[in-house]
């Protein structure tokens, strides 16, 4: 059985940002109710930059690894840059092929992150999935 690429399995089993204590200013939760995945983000904001990232949650390997890898991806990014992140950039970050049936798993973290910064929340259809 070689279910996922090693990087996904590694980040799922040994996440860096999961359940990390953070003196956060924004907390935001998103769930994919069809499969039961949940991601709750904590963000620290300084000026226009996100300077701290942590999450907690429960979900499949792809959703949890993606939420964890997102922490590396957005390091040093401004809020504006984060809001411009696309589905394709997340798929590239994961480095594996994402089938339609796994697209919400891959993007749950991004949805939570972008909605944490937005007053008008995005939905799945905004990612054209």
């Amino acid at each position: 059985m070689d279910l996922y690429a090693q990087n996904i399995l590694d980040r799922y089993k040994n996440p860096f940002y999961k359940d990390k204590k953070l003196d956060a200013v924004i907390n935001h939760k998103e769930a994919n109710r069809s499969c039961g995945d949940k991601v709750e983000l904590s963000l620290k904001i300084e000026g226009d930059k996100v300077t701290g990232y942590a999450f907690s949650g429960n979900g499949c390997a792809v959703s949890m690894a993606s939420a964890d890898m997102l922490g590396d991806l957005i390091e040093g990014m401004t809020k504006e840059e984060i809001l411009k992140l696309t589905k394709e950039e997340i798929y590239a970050m994961l480095g594996i092929e994402i089938s339609i049936r796994r697209s919400k798993c891959a993007l749950l973290g991004l949805l939570a992150l972008q909605n944490a910064l937005l007053s008008e929340p995005r939905s799945w259809s905004d990612y054209h999935i």
């Binding site: 279910l3 399995l9 039961g36 390997a61 796994r102």
Partner: protein, 398 residues
């Protein structure tokens, strides 16, 4: 017996292990032939047109109504309404019966193991009419917790599943139906899961309404059945308006057609309805005795095999008593979605997630489960392959 040979998909995909029958069943050759035959020889609109082809199509369409009535023990064909799916049947009852006969403060009793399709239409009725929605608890065997006190003079409607799509349990409905009728409440049974595993007799059960779905009983998608007692269907206003459901139309009013056509607005899924008869005939040919024998044996075998995995937890009844061939489970340290993905990579189709049963999931404090659902055409080899793959998936994550 090799029943898979009746199902062409297993010839096209010899490696396929299909254990997602609760979502939809595969279709036997007889059903595929019937679909082809309909479009090649009978295609015409029904109940209109004076030509011979319309008449033949109508006879075939109404022939399925008779077959469905026989299949569920209904006394009259006008008690059988064709819908798009079972969900539409429940919505029809909640809209038509609910809006007409239920009032603010009236109680509708559901259970915590209902599919969303038997919850949301009642919550919508709650929004429209201010009814109160109550839920029966579920015990460890997947049975309703019922001692009579849950049905009171306030209870006007009871809508329950005949078999859980998550736990696989087949609840004892008879005492609840009797208690409901004693208080004058009407009862709807969602037989979506039950209908493919067990014979149903609506008169013996004395249900007021019952819904089922053709695609879960080896038939085509896009056809549902609503059974309703004649006197109730007659009292109920039409659900949707359009052609077919009317008797007369004037500029400022209309009069509806007789039942069941009153509830069949617009051109129906004629092919789907006609083809559904082939599915019912196929089930009759195999026979429920045989289907139940095969499924019971498979379920016992699967339960024993799954129980032998120490890291696997069954969700729902642990034995094959009072249950159908639907088995939910979780595996320590592996999310159900990853279980399904791992099995999928081994050509095994199962379902993972909340199975449109968020209330039960919350009640059981589960975020998701993996679910295998067996049909009589599945084999012990299918179960063996699945258990072997589950072991590999567990090893991969641990």
């Amino acid at each position: 017996m090799d029943y898979k040979k009746d199902f062409p998909i297993f010839k096209q995909r010899p490696e396929l292990v299909y254990l997602d029958n609760a979502a939809t069943s595969q279709k036997p050759q007889a059903v595929l032939d019937s679909e082809k035959n309909y479009y090649e020889r009978l295609n015409s609109n029904v109940h209109r047109g004076a030509h011979f082809l319309a008449e033949e199509a109508t006879i075939a369409y109404e022939g399925t109504r008779q077959a469905v009535a026989d299949f569920i023990g209904a006394g009259k064909t006008n008690e059988i309404v064709f819908t798009r799916n079972a969900t539409e049947g429940i919505n029809l009852v909640a809209r038509s019966y609910g809006d007409e006969f239920l009032n603010e403060g009236d109680e509708v009793l559901l259970s915590k193991m209902e599919h969303h399709s038997n919850i949301v239409p009642w919550l919508q009725l709650k929004e429209r009419k201010g009814i109160v929605v109550k839920y029966l608890d579920i015990d460890d065997d997947g049975q309703f917790v019922f001692d009579g006190s849950q049905i009171t003079s306030k209870t006007k409607f009871v809508s329950l599943t005949g078999m859980s799509n998550i736990l696989g349990s087949i609840p004892n409905l008879k005492p609840i139906i009797e208690a409901a009728h004693e208080k004058g409440a009407k009862v709807l049974i969602d037989a979506c899961q039950l209908a493919v595993h067990s014979p149903i007799d609506v008169q013996e059960l004395d249900v007021d309404f019952l819904v089922l779905s053709a695609h879960k009983i080896y038939g085509p998608t896009g056809v549902g059945v609503l059974y309703g007692k004649e006197e109730l269907l007659k009292q109920m206003p039409p659900f949707m308006g359009g052609g077919e459901m009317i008797q007369e139309v004037f500029e400022d009013h209309f009069s509806p057609a007789e039942i069941p056509h009153k509830f069949e607005a617009g051109t129906p899924n004629i092919a789907g309805v006609v083809v559904m008869k082939a599915a019912i005939d196929y089930i009759s040919k195999i026979g429920f005795d045989q289907i139940q024998k095969e499924e019971h044996e498979l379920t016992e075998y699967a339960l024993e095999k799954l129980k032998s995995l120490p890291y696997l937890s069954l969700v729902g009844p642990k034995t094959s008593k009072n249950r159908g061939s639907v088995i939910s489970f979780t595996i320590k340290g592996v999310h159900p979605h990853d279980i399904a993905e791992g099995l999928s990579q081994s050509n095994i189709c199962i379902r993972s997630g909340q199975h449109c049963g968020q209330i039960l999931m919350d009640y059981c404090d589960l975020s998701a489960t993996a679910r295998i659902s067996l049909a009589f055409y599945n084999t012990k080899s299918d179960v063996d392959k699945t258990v072997k793959a589950l072991e590999e998936i567990y090893q991969y994550f641990n």
